[in-house]
C-alpha cells in the first residue's frame, strides 16, 4: 500500500472511520498500530517481524539503560543497540555493496575471488526507522528524554504508517508525548490534512511521475546520445522530479497524520529558493539534516575545534549522509559535492562577512540561482546510472550548440514551465509558508484549487512509479 494507490484510498478511509469511532484511546492506538503493520505487510509480510524486533529490542534496552547509573553499563546498552540497528542496516542495505567492493579491492591486489551474489532484499523504510530508533536510544543515553513506559506508544512511534517507509524521520521527543491523551483531528486539522494529502499526491502523480520523470529517463537512460539541451532539460526535470516525489511523499505523510490528530514536523521548506548551501540543508529533507547534525556532526566535534576540523567534520557528515541515500559511490560523490559546497560557502562567508553589499537583494537572488545551479549539477551523480554516464552528461552540458536530440520540444516546454513555476513559488514563499498563503484565500477559492488537483489526479496517465526514497 502506497499513498498513490487505490488500495491506500480504501485502507485510509477504513482506518480513519475506525479512528473516529468512540473507542478508548488505548484501543484507538492499538488500531493504528495494527493498521500500520498491515500497511507495511502489504509490501512484504515477513519483514514486519524485523520491524517488531527492532521496536522491542530498543524499547527494553532503553528501559534497562535508564535503570542503571553505571556509565559503563549504559554505554554497553547503547553500543548493543547501535551494533544491532546499524548491523541490520549494514547487512540489508550495504551487504552487496561491501562484498562488491571487497571483490574489486581483492582483484586490485591480484586476488581473484568470485563471491556468490547475495541477493538481499532491502526492507522498505529500514533507513528511516533505524535512524528513528537510534535517535531514541541516544537521547535516553544523553538523558535528554526519559524512556517511555508504554510499548504500545513506542511501537506506534516507530511504525505509524504515514511516516513509516519514507519519513519524515520522526524524533521520539516530538511524537511520544502526543500519545498521552486522546487525539482526534479538529475540523481544521482534517480539512487541511486531507488538502495536504491531495497536494502531495498531485506533486507525486502529476508533476513528478507524469510530466518530469519520463523526460529525465529519456536523457539519463541514453546519456551517450544526449545533446547539450537534452542534458540540461533532463537534469532540470530530475531536479523537479526528486523534489516533487520526496516533498510530495512528506506532504502526504504530514497530511495523513494530521487527519488522525498527530503532528509531524516539516520536512521541506521551499529548498530551491535557498541562498547558499547551509540554507539549502535547512530546507531540504530537514528531518535528516537535523538528525545528521545532532547525532553525527556535533558528536564529531562540530565547529568547536577550529576551522580545519570543522571542514573535516562537515565533509565526513555529508559523505555519510550521501551513503545513507544508497549503497553506491555515486551517492557518496553527491554527498561529497555538497560537503565541498558547504566548506566553500563557509570560507566565502568568512571573507565577505562584513561587506554590506552581500545583503543586496539582487546579489542574494543571484546567489540563490547559483545555489540552484550547483544543486542541479550534484543531482547528475544522484540520477545517473554510473560515473561514466554522469561525467558524460556533465561534459555534454557545457558543449555547444544548445540543441535537443532526444527530448521533444513539447516535453522541454513542460519541464521549463514547471521549473519556472517551481522556482517562482519557492522564491515567493521562502520566508512564509503554504499555510500562510492559503489562509488568505476565500473558502470557495480553496475549493476550486482542490477540485483542480482532483481533476489533475484523475487525468494523470497512471504511470506506476514507486516513490524514489522508498529505495533508501
Amino acid at each position: 500500500v502506497v499513498f498513490n494507490s487505490l488500495t491506500f484510498a480504501v485502507f485510509f478511509t477504513i482506518v480513519l472511520i475506525l479512528h473516529s469511532l468512540p473507542f478508548r484511546w488505548t484501543v484507538k492506538k492499538f488500531n493504528l498500530l495494527v493498521a500500520s503493520y498491515l500497511f507495511y505487510a502489504a509490501w512484504n509480510p515477513p519483514f514486519v517481524l524485523l520491524l517488531m524486533i527492532s521496536a522491542a529490542v530498543d524499547f527494553f534496552l532503553a528501559k534497562w539503560m535508564d535503570r542503571t547509573e553505571r556509565a559503563s553499563a549504559r554505554k554497553v546498552y547503547l553500543i548493543t543497540s547501535l551494533v544491532l540497528n546499524l548491523g541490520l542496516l549494514g547487512y540489508f542495505k550495504y551487504g552487496s555493496f561491501l562484498l562488491d567492493n571487497f571483490v574489486r579491492l581483492a582483484a586490485l591486489v591480484g586476488i581473484r575471488y568470485q563471491a556468490a551474489a547475495p541477493d538481499i532484499i532491502l526492507p522498505l523504510g529500514i533507513s528511516f526507522y533505524t535512524f528513528e530508533t537510534i535517535s531514541y536510544l541516544i537521547d535516553v543515553y544523553r538523558r535528554k528524554i526519559k524512556p517511555w513506559n508504554s510499548f504500545l506508544d513506542y511501537a506506534l512511534f516507530l511504525t505509524f504508517f504515514p511516516h513509516l517507509v519514507a519519513g519524515p524521520i520522526v524524533r521520539a521527543g516530538d511524537f511520544l508525548p502526543q500519545c498521552y491523551s486522546a487525539r482526534r483531528a479538529t475540523a481544521a486539522q482534517l480539512g487541511w490534512g486531507l488538502s495536504l494529502l491531495l497536494i502531495g499526491l498531485f506533486e507525486k502523480v502529476v508533476l513528478a511521475d507524469s510530466l518530469l520523470a519520463p523526460v529525465a529517463d529519456t536523457a539519463y537512460d541514453a546519456a551517450s546520445r544526449a545533446a547539450c539541451g537534452d542534458a540540461w532539460i533532463g537534469t532540470l526535470a530530475f531536479s523537479g522530479q526528486i523534489y516533487f516525489d520526496f516533498a510530495g511523499y512528506s506532504t502526504c505523510a504530514i497530511g495523513a497524520a494530521l487527519c488522525f490528530g498527530f503532528v509531524l514536523n516539516d520536512n521541506f521548506h521551499f529548498p530551491y529558493a535557498a541562498i547558499g548551501f547551509s540554507d539549502f540543508w535547512q530546507r531540504w529533507h530537514m528531518s535528516l539534516s537535523r538528525w545528521l547534525r545532532d547525532y553525527l556532526y556535533i558528536p564529531l566535534g562540530g565547529n568547536r575545534h577550529g576551522e580545519r576540523r570543522t571542514h573535516v567534520n562537515l565533509l565526513t557528515t555529508m559523505l555519510l549522509g550521501g551513503l545513507w541515500h544508497g549503497a553506491s559511490w555515486r551517492f557518496v560523490a553527491w554527498g561529497g559535492l555538497h560537503g565541498s559546497y558547504l566548506i566553500a560557502e563557509r570560507v566565502l562567508r568568512r571573507v565577505f562577512r562584513n561587506d554590506a553589499w552581500a545583503e543586496m537583494w539582487l546579489l542574494r537572488m543571484l546567489v540563490a540561482l547559483l545555489t540552484y545551479f550547483l544543486v542541479c549539477l550534484s543531482w547528475v551523480f544522484f540520477r545517473a546510472k554510473d560515473f561514466a554516464s554522469a561525467f558524460e552528461l556533465l561534459t555534454t552540458m557545457f558543449e555547444r550548440p544548445l540543441m535537443l536530440s532526444l527530448v521533444t520540444r513539447t516535453n522541454a516546454a513542460w519541464v521549463l514551465g514547471i521549473t519556472a513555476g517551481l522556482l517562482l513559488t519557492h522564491g515567493m514563499l521562502r520566508n512564509s509558508s503554504l499555510e500562510e498563503a492559503v489562509k488568505h484565500w476565500p473558502w470557495w477559492f480553496r475549493a476550486i484549487g482542490l477540485a483542480l488537483l482532483m481533476i489533475g489526479l484523475a487525468l494523470a496517465p497512471g504511470d506506476d512509479r514507486a516513490f524514489i526514497y522508498f529505495q533508501f
Binding site: 509480510p45 486531507l194 507524469s210 513539447t410 470557495w444 475549493a447 482542490l450 477540485a451 496517465p461
Partner: protein, 353 residues
C-alpha cells in the same frame, strides 16, 4: 524563516473546511463528468491497459499443484487467436490463464514456470519464429521484466489491479489515448482535440485480445509486419541445438512434475507468411524443434482444421475465426494428451466424452 521543528499544525489555515471540501468534490465530479461526456461524444470508449501489473495479476491466478491448469504463453498470436470463452467451454468451464505479451517470445515465461515447483499444468507456448529461433534469452526482454516485477510485487498487488480494472472499465478518462500531456499542447497550440483511433485489438478483462478488423485498412499493418519480419534470420545450427537443449531442460522440469508443454505455431497468411517462411524455413527451425523436444508440437499447417483460416493482417485471426480455431486446437491438444496416456486424459473436451 521556519525552524526545523516547526509544523503545519502551528500554522493551520482555519475556515469552513466542510463546505470547502463539499464544493471541491462537487466541482471535481462535475468537471470529470463533463470530461467523460465530451470524450465519449468524440467516440472514445473505455479500454483496458495491458501492462506489467495486469500481467502480474494474471500470473497470480495460476494455481499451483493443479494439473488441469492451462496457461497460455507467447506473443500477440496466442493473445488474439485463442478465444478463452470457447476454450473454457471445452475444458470443464475453466478458462486458461492468458500470459502472452505482445512483441515478445515465450521463453522467459517458460523458464519462469519451469522454475516454479508448484506448477504442474498444461503450458501452451506460441512459437513465433521471429523470437524463438533467433536465440533464446530466458532472463531478458519484456517478459523477463514482467517476471521480475511479479517476484517483487506487493502483497496487495492483485487487489490494486482489480480496482484499477474497475476504474479503467468504467471511465474513458483512464484510456491511454486521452493523455493530457498530448491533448493539452494539441488544444493550446492547434485548437483541436484528438480523435479516437480505429482499433482492431480490444483487450479483455482476462488479458486476451479480441481482433476485429471491420473497417480497418489492413494494408499498412501487413506492410509493417513484413518489415518487422525482415530480421537477421535464425541462429546458426549449432547455436540452435544449444538453445533447444536449454528449452528442453525447461520442458523436462515441467514434465517431471506431471505437467505438459505444447509448442504451437499459429497461423499466418499472405505476404507475412511468405516473409516469415522465407527467413525461417520450416526444416531449419520448426522441424528441428519438433524432432528435438519431448513436448507436444503442433504446427498449424499440418492440420487442415487449423490451417483453413486467413489472418486479416497476415499474423492474427479475427474473433470470428478465433472461435472455431480455438475449438479445433483444444480438440487436437486433447487427442495428443490422450495419445500419450497422459493423466490429464479425463479432461472433458468439447464434443467428446
Amino acid at each position: 524563516v521556519l525552524s526545523s521543528t516547526s509544523n503545519s499544525n502551528e500554522r493551520l489555515p482555519t475556515g469552513p473546511w466542510g463546505r470547502t471540501w463539499l464544493l471541491a468534490v462537487c466541482l471535481a465530479v462535475l468537471g470529470l463528468g463533463l470530461g467523460e461526456g465530451l470524450w465519449r461524444a468524440r467516440g472514445f470508449r473505455p479500454i483496458l491497459r495491458d501492462d506489467a501489473d495486469f500481467w502480474c495479476w494474471a500470473r497470480s491466478t495460476v494455481k499451483g499443484h493443479d494439473p488441469d491448469q492451462v496457461v497460455l504463453i507467447g506473443a500477440s498470436r496466442i493473445l488474439m487467436d485463442i478465444d478463452t470463452e470457447t476454450w473454457a467451454e471445452c475444458f470443464r468451464g475453466r478458462k486458461p490463464v492468458q500470459l502472452g505479451v505482445t512483441g515478445s517470445d515465450c521463453v522467459p515465461v517458460l523458464y519462469h514456470l519451469s522454475k516454479d515447483r508448484t506448477f504442474c499444468g498444461i503450458l501452451v507456448c506460441d512459437v513465433a519464429p521471429g523470437g524463438f529461433f533467433q536465440g533464446i534469452y530466458p532472463r531478458s526482454g519484456i517478459q523477463a521484466e514482467y517476471v521480475k516485477k511479479y517476484a517483487t510485487r506487493s502483497a496487495l498487488a492483485s487487489e490494486e489491479q482489480y480496482l484499477r480494472l474497475l476504474v479503467q472499465q468504467a471511465s474513458v478518462l483512464r484510456q491511454p489515448e486521452i493523455d493530457f500531456r498530448e491533448f493539452l499542447p494539441l488544444l493550446v497550440w492547434h485548437g483541436r482535440l484528438p480523435r479516437p483511433q480505429l482499433r482492431y485489438n480490444t483487450i479483455l478483462p482476462d488479458r486476451s485480445v479480441r481482433g476485429d478488423y471491420t473497417g480497418i485498412d489492413v494494408a499498412p499493418i501487413i506492410e509493417r509486419g513484413v518489415r518487422q519480419s525482415q530480421t537477421a534470420g535464425p541462429v546458426a545450427p549449432e547455436q540452435l541445438r544449444k538453445d533447444l537443449s536449454s528449452v528442453e531442460e525447461m520442458v523436462t522440469r515441467i514434465q517431471e512434475r506431471g505437467g505438459e508443454v505444447v509448442f504451437v505455431t499459429f497461423p499466418n497468411s499472405g505476404k507475412r507468411r511468405a516473409a516469415e517462411e522465407g527467413l525461417f524455413p520450416r526444416q531449419r527451425c520448426w522441424d528441428i524443434l519438433a524432432a528435438h523436444t519431448k513436448a507436444i508440437t503442433i504446427h498449424y499447417r499440418d492440420y487442415p482444421d487449423l490451417a483453413r483460416y486467413e489472418c486479416p493482417d497476415g499474423a492474427h485471426l479475427d474473433y470470428h475465426s478465433a472461435v472455431p480455431f480455438t475449438k479445433a486446437l483444444a480438440l487436437l491438444i486433447k487427442d495428443k494428451l490422450h495419445a500419450r496416456s497422459h493423466p490429464r486424459n479425463t479432461l472433458q473436451v468439447c464434443g467428446s466424452s
